[in-house]
């Protein structure tokens, strides 16, 4: 291995370590401030007390426990889940345009949500989450099924093409349902909803999926690095690429399904954070995946705080804020020479 490449590798690991540790610390402090800021300003002391010595009679404690804490936790969970799912997608398909939504996950979820709104107008929040998850699974099964049924088996291009076809089909159907049954605004609100109204109970409902997804992602990260070199090389190195792709898809389904069910459509994180992580730590997915998790959680948390403050007391859709924060940085990185996929 040439010397400069080795140096670069070392500096990548250094940057990666800094991101993981520094990001973790930053994440903690941002969470505290996320709980602190809002319509009713709470002192840091009462935030501390509410978490560690809870008193159900104090209104500030109730606000922290019932509203702010779930919201902050949800932002971190959703951001991390989307970013990791995006990293896996881009690694598996070797395509910079791949994002979690391309596996048909979000489109499938929006399709079943549209049906739920059209048929059961009085459906509960938990009911909607279940529908959303079912839809996410439906979309993924369709995309994965089609590409594995096709002649010549699953190739990255085919996976991506089948994904965008299914996405387009399902989201068109849900828009059509929206227009026909006059529920498009309901659907849009659900998807632009973000993490503002999340309750602990819902978070508990999806937490196992996110946890399982993250663990799977870290276990798979080595295989995904190899797969990202190309199908032929991966096979040549003795990898069973079919199994890796299948497990990767399951992971994406768990992570994105959970994220979409809690927070609706937050597009930018899954697409852009993996790029940013790759720009920073290089092409090794053992680093990209954990760094994506930290950066994704951080981005969504900051965006969620900003969405409360930008136009207070109204909330700006958090998906829009993530884009406004992330785009300039992303463009800067895209212009920097030397880093390819």
């Amino acid at each position: 291995m040439p010397k400069n490449t080795q140096n670069e590798l070392h500096s990548n690991y250094l940057i990666g370590t800094i991101i993981l540790i520094g990001g973790g610390v930053l994440l903690f402090f941002t969470m505290i401030s996320s709980i602190h800021f809002g319509a009713a300003d709470l002192s840091f002391k009462s935030v501390w007390e509410a978490i560690f010595s809870y008193d159900g009679d104090k209104s500030s404690h109730v606000i922290v426990r019932e509203l702010r804490l779930p919201r902050a936790l949800a932002a971190v969970t959703v951001g991390a889940a989307l970013a990791v799912a995006g990293a896996i997608m881009q690694g598996m398909t070797r395509n910079p345009l791949a994002s979690p939504s391309i596996m048909g996950v979000t489109a499938g979820s929006s399709f079943l949500i549209a049906i739920a709104f059209a048929i059961f107008p009085a459906i509960s929040y938990t009911g909607l989450i279940s529908f959303s998850f079912l839809g996410a699974a439906l979309g993924t099964i369709l995309v994965f099924g089609i590409s594995s049924l096709s002649k010549g088996g699953i190739t990255p291009v085919k996976l991506a093409l089948a994904g965008s076809a299914i996405t387009s089909l399902l989201s068109s159907l849900s828009t059509a349902i929206g227009i026909r049954f006059n529920v498009s605004k309901d659907i849009s609100y659900w998807y632009a909803g973000g993490v503002s109204a999340v309750q602990m109970e819902q978070l508990m409902y999806v937490a196992p999926f996110v946890l399982a997804g993250l663990i799977l992602a870290i276990i798979l990260s080595r295989s995904i690095s190899i797969l990202s070199l190309g199908e032929d090389i991966a096979k040549g190195l003795g990898q069973n690429t079919g199994v890796v792709k299948f497990l990767g898809t399951i992971t994406v389904l768990f992570l994105t399904g959970a994220a979409v069910s809690v927070a609706g459509m937050i597009g930018f994180v899954g697409l852009v954070i993996p790029h940013i992580a790759r720009f920073l730590v290089g092409v090794d997915y053992r680093w990209i995946i954990p760094c994506s998790a930290v950066l994704g959680g951080l981005l969504l948390l900051v965006a969620d705080i900003a969405s409360r403050l930008l136009n207070a007391p109204f909330e700006t859709p958090v998906g829009a804020v993530t884009a406004i924060i992330g785009v300039p940085f992303f463009l800067y990185l895209a212009r920097k020479e030397g880093r390819e996929l």
């Binding site: 395509n95 910079p96 345009l97 791949a98 089609i146 590409s147 049924l149 096709s150 002649k151 010549g152 291009v157 085919k158 991506a160 093409l161 089948a162 965008s164 076809a165 299914i166 387009s168 089909l169 989201s171 068109s172 159907l173 828009t175 059509a176 929206g178 227009i179 026909r180 498009s184 605004k185 849009s188 609100y189 632009a192 597009g267 930018f268 697409l271 852009v272 790029h275 700006t316 859709p317 998906g319 829009a320 804020v321 993530t322 884009a323 406004i324 992330g326 785009v327 992303f330 463009l331 895209a334 212009r335 020479e337 390819e340 996929l341």
Partner: protein, 341 residues
């Protein structure tokens, strides 16, 4: 490649003949069908100048311009997609990647938002202002993307795609922010526009779009050999002796101009730009001299069929043509995906 050359030639001829015949059939069917159904005999009488005044009005002032627009827009968007997939070396590229969708959509939504209910939106001029706004938005986004991707006199495909992703996210974010603040009626209008709909039942639009299509599409076909080379990879293109930067810039400009003009009268129908070239490629191989004409005809046919169906299926309500394109096109696209290697 075990196809003989003459077999490919025959395939190409058969495909061109079939799509042409289908377009003619669809043309008559589309005049015949609609809110007021006109019998075939009367359609022919009216076209020969012997029809009733009522039929003449319906056919010449409403249906004919719309049918021609659908054909033109379908051709333009598909060719634009074919060019983009060639120069970006990415099978997932469609005109939306250049910000054409989101830029035009943002301009239209901004216009709807600021002038809602004023005479500006309802006056006689308004039907021309909306497409103008869309055109300006589309070009602004495309220029922005090209300018940011430009570095040291070069625009590499990867950078173009990455910057495209970034700018697209920014415009979509702006779109969401304004959309959420809209009145429900305007919101519905915006959704319908964004889903893609041919609204210009007016000869002026046909005349405005005609020169773009009839100059740019032949020009693209004339340039097809450069597309063949650019699609391979930059080093190969350079070694063959192509001035890649110049050719890429010209082709990119053609693609933006075509898609911008089409989106301004047809709304966000860029999925057509993704699938039409793929369908052509999967049916008749990889030479652009053949793919481009076939793509144009397939695109025209698809959009005309979709528009006709969209008018009839939920009459008197109209389903946006972009949705019908996806619902019709995606299954066929998936079938091709499964069938071919």
């Amino acid at each position: 490649m075990n196809h003989s050359l003459s077999k490919d030639k025959r395939k190409f001829k058969i495909l061109m003949a079939t799509t042409s015949i289908l377009i003619v059939l669809m043309f008559f069917l589309s005049i015949n069908a609609g809110f007021i159904s006109i019998p075939f005999k009367e359609v022919i009488d009216t076209l020969l100048g012997k029809g009733t005044e009522h039929n003449e009005l319906t056919i010449f002032s409403f249906r004919l311009p719309r049918i021609i627009l659908a054909l033109l827009v379908g051709m333009g968007i598909s060719i634009s997609g074919a060019i983009l997939q060639g120069i970006s070396q990415n099978p997932l590229a469609d005109p939306g990647i250049l910000g054409i969708n989101s830029g035009a959509g943002f301009a239209v939504v901004l216009y709807m938002f600021f002038f809602q209910g004023t005479t500006f939106l309802t006056g006689a001029l308004s039907i021309f202002i909306m497409p103008a706004a869309a055109l300006i938005g589309a070009f602004a986004a495309a220029i922005l993307i090209y300018a940011i991707s430009w570095k040291k006199g070069r625009v590499t495909p990867v950078r173009l795609l990455l910057v495209g992703i970034g700018i697209n996210s920014a415009f979509s974010a702006g779109l969401i922010v304004f959309q959420m603040k809209m009145e429900p009626i305007d919101f519905m209008k915006a959704i319908i526009w964004l889903s893609g709909t041919i609204w210009g039942t007016n000869w002026t639009f046909v005349l405005a779009l005609l020169p773009w299509i009839f100059i740019l599409i032949p020009l693209t076909i004339y340039k097809s050999r450069y597309l063949d080379v650019l699609r391979l990879s930059d080093p190969i293109a350079i070694s063959v002796g192509v001035d890649i930067e110049r050719e890429r810039r010209i082709l990119l400009f053609i693609s933006v101009a075509l898609a911008g003009a089409c989106v301004s009268v047809g709304g966000g129908i860029t999925f057509l730009g993704l699938i039409a070239p793929h369908i052509a490629r999967r049916l008749i191989g990889a030479r652009h001299a053949k793919i481009l004409p076939a793509t144009a005809l397939i695109g025209g046919l698809l959009l005309l069929s979709a528009d006709t169906l969209g008018r009839v299926i939920m009459a008197p309500m109209e389903l946006p043509v972009g949705l019908v394109v996806s619902i019709l096109g995606a299954p066929y696209f998936i079938y091709l995906l499964v069938k071919t290697v």
